[in-house]
Amino acid sequence: MKTNSAGNKGISLILMIAGLVMTIAAIVLDFMGSKASFRGPLLIIGVLEVIIGAYLYPTLKHHRKIIYVIFLFPLLFAFVVTVIIPLLLGIFYSMTDWTGIRFTKFVGLANYTAMFKDPAFLWSILMTFVFVIINMILVNLVAFLLALLCTSGLKGDGFFRVAYFLPNLIGGIVLGYIWQFVFNNVLINISKISWLVQTKTAMLAIIIVYVWQYAGYIMLIYITGLTQIPKDILEAASIDGADARQTLFEIKIPMIASTITICTFLTLTSAFKQFDVNLALTGGTGSVPNFMGQYLTNGTQMLALNIYNTAVSKNNYSLGQAKAVLFFIILACVSLIQVRISNKKEVEL
C-alpha cells in the first residue's frame, strides 16, 4: 500500500492471471463434459486468487474501490444465487411443464388456469384468508391487552413477560406436536371428541395455537410502544380528569399508531406464511362435505402447505410453482395495501 513496489505488483498480477486461467479452465472443462473432481476446487481457488490478487494490487487511487467490491461480493453472490435466480427461474418454470429436474415445453398460463379449477386449492385460499384475518385481529387484541396488563404496574411483571414470550422461542414443528397431544389426550376429557377431528374446530385449534405462540412476541413490541409514551402527557391527562377509558382511547392508542402498524404487518405476513404449525398439528387434513360440488379432504390445509404438498408429495412441480407465484403476488399486494392504509391513518392522526 505504502510503496508502489514492483515486487507487489508482480505477485498481484501473477495471482490474478493464474486465478483467471484456473477459473476459465474449470468452466471450459465443465462445458466439455469433464467429470474430473478437481474442477470444483480449481474454480474456487481460481476465484480466490483473483480476489487476493486484486487486493494486493498496489494502487492508492483504486484501492478503496477494490475493497468495496471485495466486501460486497460474498453476501451479494449468496443472495443472488439463493433468492434472485430461483425467483426468476420460478416465475419461468411456472409457465412450463417443469418436473423439478427438467422441462420439455412451454405451456403458457395452463398451470394458472388449472389451479383455479381445483376446488381443493380454492378452499385453501379461502381458509388462508379466514385464518389470516381472524388471527390478525386476535393476536393484536390479545397482545395489546397483555401489554396493558404488563405495563399496569403489577408486581412481578418481568416474570409475566418472560412467561408469555416463552412459546415464541420454540419452533412450530415441536409446538404443533405438543398441542396435538394437548388436544388429543388432555382436552378430550372435556370436549368428548378431539378438536382436531372436525374441520371447523381444527381450524379453531390452529388459530388458538398460533395466537398462543405469537401473542407474546407482539406483546413485547406493544410494551415498548407503550413505555415510550411521554409520562408528562399521561400526567397531564390525569390532572385534566381523564378516566382510564379516555386515557386508553384518546391518548395511548393514538400515540402508538406506528407500533400498531408494525404489529399488524408482522402478524399479517407471518400468518400468511404459516406452515410448521399447520403441518404438525393437523397435516392439513379435515373433511369438507361439499365445496363447489366436491368432497374435500384438505379442510385445514392452508396455502403454504398446499404448495408444498402439490410439489413435494404429489410431485407436480410446475403446478406447485405456479401456486407459489400466485402466493407471492397475493402477499405482495396485501403488504402494499396494508402499508398504504397505515400510512394514511398515521398522517390523519
Binding site: 484501492h63 444465487v81 414470550f165 420454540i170 408482522l266 406452515f275
Partner: protein
Amino acid sequence: MVGKENRTRSYILTAVGVVVALYVLFPFFMVVLNSFKAQASIVESPVALKGASLGQLSKNLNAVINNSNFQFWYAFGTSAVITVISLVLLAVLGSMAAWVISRNNRTKWATAIYMTFIASMIIPFQVVMLPLISTFRDVGKFIGIGMLQSIPGIVFAYCGFGGAMTVFILTGFIKGVPYDLEEAAAIDGCSPEGTFFRIILPLLTPVITTVTILNGMWIWNDYLLPSLMLGQNGRVKTLPVAVQAFVGSYVKQWDLILTAALLAIIPMVVIFLIGQKQIMKGMVEGAVKG
C-alpha cells in the same frame, strides 16, 4: 379509600396475569410431566402426577437419545454447527456489505442494491424453494461439491436468505456512525479495510447482537429449508427435521414424542434464560426496524 381501591385493582390484575401465565405455560408443563411417565400412565391420565418417576424419565431419555431415527446428539450438533457458522458469516459479511452500501449511499449502484435487498424481504420462501433446490443441485454438480445434503450448502443458503434483513438493519445503524472517525483513521494512514475491521466493526457490537438474535431464532427453529435441502431422512439433519422424522415413525408413542420435544425445547430455553433481556430487546428492535 383510594388506596384500598388500588389494592383490589392490583389483586385482580395479578390474578389475571397468573391465570394467563398458567394457560401459556400449561403445554410446557404437560411436556415436562409426561416425560416422567410411561405410555400406559400417560394414556390413563395425562394430567395426573401418578406414575411419574425419575427412573422412567431416564428410561425415556435413553430410548429417545439412542433412537436411530432421532439421533439426538448428532442432530443437535448439526443444528449447532449450521446455526453458529451461518450467524458468524452473516454478521461479518453482512457488516461488510452494509458498510459499503452506507458509505456509497449517494451512488446509484449502492441504492439499487439496497432497494433490491429491501424489496426481496417480501418474497415468501415458498416461491423460491423449488427452483432453489434445482439450482443448488446444478451448482453442486458444477463445482463438484454437493450443495444439497451438505452443511456448506445450507450455510450458503442461510447467508443468502438472511442477507437482506441483516444488511437492512446494519445499514440503518452504520448511517449513524460518524464519518469523521474513518477520515481521521485514513489521515493516520489506515487502509479502508483496516478502518473497517479495527474501528467500524467493534462499534457495531450492539446491532450485531440484535441481528444475531433474530437470525439465530430463525435458523435454529427453521424446518422447511433444511427438510427440503437436507431431505427428511438424509445423512445430515437438523433438530426440527429429526423431530419430524422421529414423530413420523412413532405415531401416538407419546412417552417418546414428548421426551423428544423436551430435548428439543431445553437448549433454546436455557439460552433464553441466560440472555433473556438481550433476546427480548433484540426481538423488539429487529421488528421495529424491520
